[in-house]
Subunit: 67 residues, 6 copies
């Protein structure tokens, strides 16, 4: 039943890494709450660094400053 | 007033099909709850099959297995 | 595979009406895109009218004005 | 057209403060992007501190540590 | 702590405008609720006009009608 | 930077279990993508079983049928 939405910045996550996140989150929900993997959705959304802000700055700007 | 977010895998939904979903959901909310279509938002988000997981597998992998 | 999130104001939707929305949206996705109901999630979220704004006003305020 | 979702911890935001957030965000979208307030939705969701985690800790725990 | 998600139609918002939205929303949350900018996330998502519906019509269609 | 939203049915998840989910997801993102826990948000939302549908049925109804 769980629905998990993971938003990360679009900075090169590979298909293998995304598969690993999906497998890991699904197993975590099974281990902690006994949730059925067959009805566990995990959706990963990759967001452009111009479109993600922290402390009032875009991640693009923070990367330029080495943050 | 309703806000509806529909996430589907990016597997070729046409503009006509998306229009049909928007029309259908808007009418459903009007019929069931009397909601005003003028203030009903429907947003469709298409997600890459590498980014959608069920049962710990990406949809890309499940398609490869014919699921 | 579809995940549908419906946000409505918390204004008395009954269990039967919510069941009707869930059934209707699931059937619509099956009819329009051939999606499998067994892996179609529909989640309804009811939001307090103090917490929903349109045109810069809360719905609570708009209701007071008869909008 | 904009849809804005604001998630904050449930720590006593008043109706007036939520109205102020709704008004401020709506005006910001009008000023920056010329968006029509009449079709601008702002939804505020208040999350229990047990249900919000940062740095692997719940906000409830961080508050106990004075963070 | 706040998480803000802004969905707008993909109609040419510039990097500068998105930076302005991020800065403005972060300052608003600081002014109204005293939230710490360092832990304020703002995520902007741009949605194709075929994928956004109001009053049962896609924004693409409404633009064609001059709405 | 990651933002993770976990939706589960409201069926008695304890504060400890939610802390475990938050810790587990944060560590997973650190291990797989090297993400900084200090700027990793995890938000858990618990949804009434009347408000969650699968295969066109509410979870309330499915529980009644022993599913």
């Amino acid at each position: 039943m769980p629905y998990v939405n993971i938003k990360i910045t679009r900075e090169g996550a590979t298909a293998e890494q995304k598969q690993e996140l999906i497998r890991g989150v699904t197993r975590l929900l099974q281990d902690v709450l006994g949730k059925n993997p067959q009805t566990t959705f995990v959706i990963i959304e990759e967001v452009d660094t111009d479109n993600w802000g922290i402390a009032g700055e875009t991640v693009t700007e923070r990367r330029r400053q080495g943050k």
